[in-house]
Symmetry: D2
Subunit: 308 residues, 4 copies
């Protein structure tokens, strides 16, 4: 009955039946024990106080353990990707990352291998057994993402609402980065485009915002993580590679993110960073990544006991 | 011969035959008298020193006269749009604006009338004879934009490179807004996605960037217009409505933009701003718009004689 | 009686007897017809709706006519200053500017001529008859500013509350720049340190705020001027030289500031900009200044008729 | 001989004889084995590769162990300060903080107890044996800071070069906060005003910069700490209280700062935060401080072994 009204939309989320309602609606319009959201949003802890866990293949994001996704900025070749995949697995990565469709600032930069890049990622997945996350920029490419475990929405598409609505209507895990100039509140409002379509598998990935100092590439405000944690039950990932802009700063930012409470890290690692076709300055060597993993897990262990 | 190489792309732009080349290429690889771009980009004054004029129906943008596009934030109904269209025409507008597909911060806000909105815009166009500009967010909607005179790319899609590439391959006038956190250099690099597809009908529309003060909604840096003018030959529009965020400030920002050198203004005007379904605080009344047009044209006249 | 309370402070401002009160105080604690301020502040239009005019020697700032102060970034020598002073007077300047005590980013840059610089400024004042504005950084230097007509507080000292309190207790005209990262609200709160000491001769000078794009030096948000105008009765000056950072952009920003409603401009002009000891890139040549003055006065005339 | 030239200044710093030189000078103008600085600055690792330790009473800042300074935003009364001092000592603080002269955004807010506040701080120092750090805003107040162990320069005075020069010529430990809109490079250039006077006891204290999101008060960019570490040998402190703006976020930001490599933390703690006369929202309770100290020391221990 309610469902047929144009002002209401029924969705199933977090194991519950929920009604999205218009502004004019008040709680007593609804049968008891049915959550009615809108003002606060589906991301809100007021709606769902307990932390959400997003499961990607066999990896649980948000359960207290630290999940680390690693891999090159861009998939450049089969050899490159497979070498990196096997190595980061051995060094402790839980997931693989690698860009196939690349959102580059200019059309004259390397644009990624596209569908071939995804084919290579799937090979890496088969060999290592690690689930794969990779960025999607265009709805028209969706078919290529069939066997991808987690779809990344990048910073430049953080308010591409058409793309968000599309993925909101698919039941696929999404790693959702913040826009460079978005407030926390705007970011969470954008996440509603995913959640209100019925897709609850949303991990927020903080990658910093634009600041005025070129000493690093983006501002990685450590206050964002506790501020998100207070407002939302969704798991939180941090990407220290892009804000660093320089591999010398990646570990410090990664450890800071874990210390501030991140559930997951996404790290750019390359077998030969200086020759990388994109972001060559910020991709870690294997040795640097090994040290980062070791220290990040130690910090996470402290925090594990902290929250207990 | 050159054209068949994977490293080169031949395009026709600004009445010339141009080659887009890889980094490794040097000028003497090319026959004389053929411009080779890439480092500077197709937007650059170094490639094309003279100002570009973009013609939309019978309106010339960039020819020295001030072009004013006006209309509501969103098309809300036939009555609303037609009343506004006729009125702003009488008050001196050269083009109509109105949102049909609206990029709203949350999915729970009014999302626009979509295709019906565009149908209404076409009616307004027929009645007034004024060309229409309206925003496109999704390639899948392209058919609906068939008779639209100019397609707007909004701030949130300013780095949606898939959308830009698509419109770069269509020969349609584009009003291209800057992203909230984009530098001038990034904005011009994004414009290359349009230009390098062979579409030279690009008008840049400055709508401010994110700042730290909530006294207004966005920072409308008056230095951006001369800095753009120095770097690029493309025409420059200013949108004072969004940075103002309050109708009390719109005229001052509009006049400042014209004084700084803008070729065009895009202004939100509503027949009943307080009841508007979106951006109600910043849409002008007809009386405010009338005063703005009168003063903006006076300032433009001064500048006309200035550049002469 | 009221005056002896520790919670109240009586001042005379704008020709009125005013009481500054504690938070706990309510209006009926006071005799009728005596303004009680604090929540809104002495800068507020709610306290004083009519525009304030600050008179510096014979120059009225805020009376509708455009006041232009011009001169070099720094006083470098008697010859330099006197040549510039005579020239800018002939080209239409109403006041002279020139830095004697210079707040330089590093201690290894030219720090200004100090007291000797002020002696030279006084000579320029005698020869041209134009009043002089120059920056004070340190209370200990105050004696040297004896015959200076207007004391400038620079951006870096915009929240140096000791300096503000000191000048608040002197009855001297102050040109008060905003801090690089101050909101309008913080700037006006800082102005209270001047006003609450009983000094009503305060002109706000907007010089832009820090932004993320290096294409210009600071963001000159044209919305700031109407937003200030709405909140405060104090006169508003604009400094286009520092935000421009490049002389090519100064005129556009100056005209934009006037179009947005500024009462005054402060412009850096040099007889030989490329050899200037500081800010060499942004100081105007005499020819550029002449053109700026001509166009700025035309824009001001339009606005004069606008407000009428 | 060199020393008498106006272009050179001899100082003793870091146990060395150094010459500050003019731009025109080249290295071979100097006797061998004498460092000549200017381009890089006295803060630079290129001049002095090894980390500097600043000793405040018996506390060594920069030696690898984590130094924690704690206390109220403002000294409000003897009872308040002494209770807090004894308690934070018991909970693990190494130093006391407390504001006597307070730089408040408006003149109508509590301005601190001034000299009486410093007298109370000295009592707290005698009772607890912990050295004291407190902010100085005005050279005229310097006498009152006689027995203060470390003088703080606050964010609003970060480019008050007169104050910096004054303290540069005194051999007193300085806790030097960054300005809200200063780049790392500008901050380090400001530190040169302290160092070039011969005062090497400078600890940089990062307290965040202005950002566009009100979810927290300032942006605490975790990349700043490694970027500082790379450029300068000076010890680095972090102030998580001001950027948090809310006690709920202070611990996360503090741990992130330590994980990013901070040598010291400065934390606001109050015996009754909700009744505090300033910054009441961000001051920690004793219980919150206890937990922060415990976790921060654990994170520091990991990093200690990391750098080893």
């Amino acid at each position: 009955m309610l469902e047929t009204s144009v002002d209401f939309k029924e969705i199933f989320l977090y194991g519950k039946r929920l009604f999205l309602t218009s502004d004019q609606c008040t709680l007593h319009d609804f049968p008891e024990n049915i959550a009615v959201i809108r003002q606060e949003g589906l991301h809100s802890r007021k709606l769902k106080p307990s932390d959400t866990t997003v499961t990607v293949d066999k990896v649980n994001i948000g359960r207290g353990g630290l999940v680390i996704a690693a891999g090159p900025c861009a998939v450049e070749s089969e050899d490159q990707m497979l070498e990196i995949a096997e190595k980061v697995k051995r060094l402790g990565a839980d997931m693989l990352r690698g860009g196939a469709f690349k959102p580059r600032t200019t059309p004259y930069s390397f644009q990624g291998l596209g569908k071939n890049g995804i084919t290579i990622l799937k090979q890496a997945r088969e060999i290592t057994g690690l689930p794969v996350v990779t960025e999607m920029m265009d709805i028209a490419d969706y078919e290529a993402f069939d066997n991808v475990d987690m779809i990344q929405i990048g910073s430049r598409n953080a308010q591409n609402f058409s793309l968000l609505k599309f993925l909101g209507s698919r039941n696929r895990p999404v790693l959702f980065k913040n826009g460079m100039a978005n407030t926390i509140s705007e970011w969470l409002s954008s996440a509603e485009y995913l959640l209100s379509g019925g897709n609850e598998k949303v991990v927020l990935c903080y990658r910093g915002t634009r600041g005025f100092d070129n000493a690093t590439r983006f501002n990685m405000d450590s206050g964002v993580i506790p501020a998100l944690r207070e407002r939302t039950h969704l798991p939180i990932c941090a990407d220290p590679s892009h804000p660093a802009g320089d591999r010398k700063y990646v570990e410090a930012i990664a450890l800071a993110s874990v210390a501030a409470g991140a559930d997951m890290l996404e790290i750019e690692v390359h077998n030969d960073p200086d020759s990388a076709l994109s972001d060559s300055k910020q991709q870690l060597t294997f040795m640097e990544f090994e040290k980062l993993v070791r220290n990040a897990r130690k910090v996470a262990d402290i925090l594990g006991s902290r929250t207990a």
